[in-house]
Assembly symmetry: C2
Homo-oligomer: 366 residues x 2
């Protein structure tokens, strides 16, 4: 068998019994005519295993080390090897074989690309391979310090190679919010705008107890007394016409507009985005409360009956812009924390008033 590297096509072409030995029995490469085309990362893996002794490039015989130095596919190799070690067959995505019976098509570009929506590897279910039709994961490889635009992320697994060369997998999926609360909040409420909250001095019991708006001014253990509403809660209630807000001196305010203005004064347009996400979460029947203790915008109770029967919240929501860019390390922080408290980590992508896209991210052990 001979294996030759074609630098222009970023491809290794192997002849002889390569197709039988590597593709038919172990899912490497893609058949072309009598031979086999291997992506650099596949050839590197075969070299590392000793299944290939050398790859010829520019008339020289390269071993694993020289081949890796020549092609530079270090990140890709680390991920490819890890998934092989875990018992998966996988193909570089733009080289994944076409449907059965169709052998020919264009040779792909470099297997590990940094284009936004790209997938680097197609991973088949354990026991399956490129000759089957089923796909288990679409994997995108990123370095710890690369940024990943949120736009276009959906049904994909991010494989992050960290600074030390360790791997973390994040499974991303679109997932709209849900919830079980279907009662309308009390109406005809009135409150006073003080600092960054609205104080409701004589709230109806239902506002807190069965709707979970606000927090007792006299602390968590108080079972009565004034409620402090956050600006978001107050703005959402005011927008529904359920709440009238006066200023500290008792004079009337412009309601929603005054609340939004107060919110923007502190955090700019972020307030609008958060109000957008808050409203969508409430509309879906969820109960969003401050996610501060988890470093998020909201914690959300999806199956809420009353405050006295409160169980743990189900998800953490971070609100970001629609054109948000993820940094793998920030993602790792959010997802690790959420996992540690058994909540789902959800990103709300919104530019406010344009609707919200929901992206849920979880750590995956393939």
């Amino acid at each position: 068998m001979e294996a030759t590297y074609d630098a222009d096509e970023h491809t290794v072409r192997a002849t002889g019994d390569a197709r039988q030995r590597f593709y038919d029995s172990r899912g490497y490469g893609r058949p072309r005519g009598d031979g086999l085309e291997l992506a650099p990362v596949e050839a590197a893996h075969l070299l590392h295993r000793g299944d290939l002794e050398a790859v010829v490039a520019n008339g020289r015989e390269l071993g694993f080390r020289e081949f890796l130095a020549l092609t530079g596919v270090v990140l890709g190799f680390v991920v490819y090897k890890d998934l092989r070690d875990r018992g998966f067959y996988l193909s570089p995505a733009d080289r994944s074989p076409p449907a059965a019976g169709d052998d020919g098509s264009d040779a792909g570009a470099d297997s590990v690309s940094d284009d936004a929506g790209d997938v680097d590897f197609v991973v088949y279910p354990r026991g399956s391979g490129p000759w089957d039709d089923e796909v288990q994961h679409r994997v995108r490889v990123v370095g710890e310090r690369e940024s990943v635009p949120a736009d276009g992320l959906g049904d994909v697994v991010l494989a992050v190679v960290d600074e030390d060369g360790d791997l973390t997998y994040f499974e991303m999926a679109k997932r709209p919010p849900t919830g079980s609360l279907d009662r309308d909040p009390p109406s005809e409420l009135s409150g006073t705008l003080l600092a960054n909250r609205v104080l409701v001095w004589d709230p109806p019991e239902a506002l807190y107890e069965t709707q979970f708006y606000g927090q007792r001014l006299y602390g968590r253990n108080a079972d009565a007394g004034p409620l402090q509403l956050s600006l978001l809660e107050a703005a959402a209630l005011a927008r529904q016409g359920a709440l009238t807000v006066t200023a500290a001196d008792g004079s009337p305010t412009d309601g929603v507009d005054s609340l939004v203005a107060r919110g923007r004064a502190v955090e700019g347009e972020r307030f609008d985005r958060r109000l957008d996400a808050y409203t969508a979460l409430r509309d879906a029947g969820g109960v969003p409360k401050s996610g501060f203790k988890f470093g998020a915008d909201f914690r959300v109770y999806e199956s809420f009956t009353s405050v006295s029967e409160l169980s743990h919240s189900d998800s953490l929501v971070r609100v970001v812009t629609a054109d948000h860019t993820f940094f793998p390390r920030d993602l790792s922080l959010d997802v690790r924390l959420a996992g540690g408290v058994r909540k789902r980590m959800v990103f709300a992508l919104t530019d406010a008033n344009d609707g919200v896209d929901w992206l849920s991210v979880a750590r995956l052990t393939p």
Copy 2:
């Protein structure tokens, strides 16, 4: 007893038996002559309890609600009440009584100030009060969306009032790094600079096993083979003269300079700051490795003997600029995660080459 609000001095003056009832027996206010001066937040607390029936301002008698609206000390009240509920006596910081026997001094400014290095409350040990000399906590009150300059933070507790009005306390302390590793790393190493790592093809066993530099190229479970060093590890070793680095094509590089240039290309000056912190951690005998899985710069093993006897790491380090500004929510995220995995959260403040200040932050339940 009569209590009168002086708006210019932000002070309530109470006469009659106020000193006896409020100061002597329960640590409110500070004696002035025969009477008692109360900060607005103290007067609000007394009004809320019904211990004061009203405060006179501009000839009108105000109850709790009107007094809170007039003075706006909502955040301060929430924190003051919480600490009182937990069994502490406390004084607004700039009003804390002087040493015993000295009753007079200037009246303070507003009790909850937003100056950088400010402390809002001085909290006495349980069972003690303003008439004693001991201080348990110096507390600074901040809203969830305020920023807190790192400069000047040290022996202070941040009390963060979140959007919902819930409270979280963070204890901050200066704490230089420590560690038990006192061996020098192997020298006369050579490696190849590939992508963002340096591959050492035939590493001495000690480099990984007893010094924990690098990661096996063949994955975590490999017990031999090439090591991949991070750029930080390689730069630190090269700076000690222990490592020579060649380019992918085998040509020589400029050593440290080439590595630092490669690091800067990806993350700018942040690389220098991280190298600074990495070096200081190693110098102190700690073993810093990537903190990626925890969303931090480093996880640090402070009592390290060998990789095969590795226990859990002790702290997580995030590297920030010397003029860094904390956002309470980010702080909450870091500290919560670290707490969940039982590690200390440490911030390394550095501008590179100017030394490093170390600030450790933990959640506190007073």
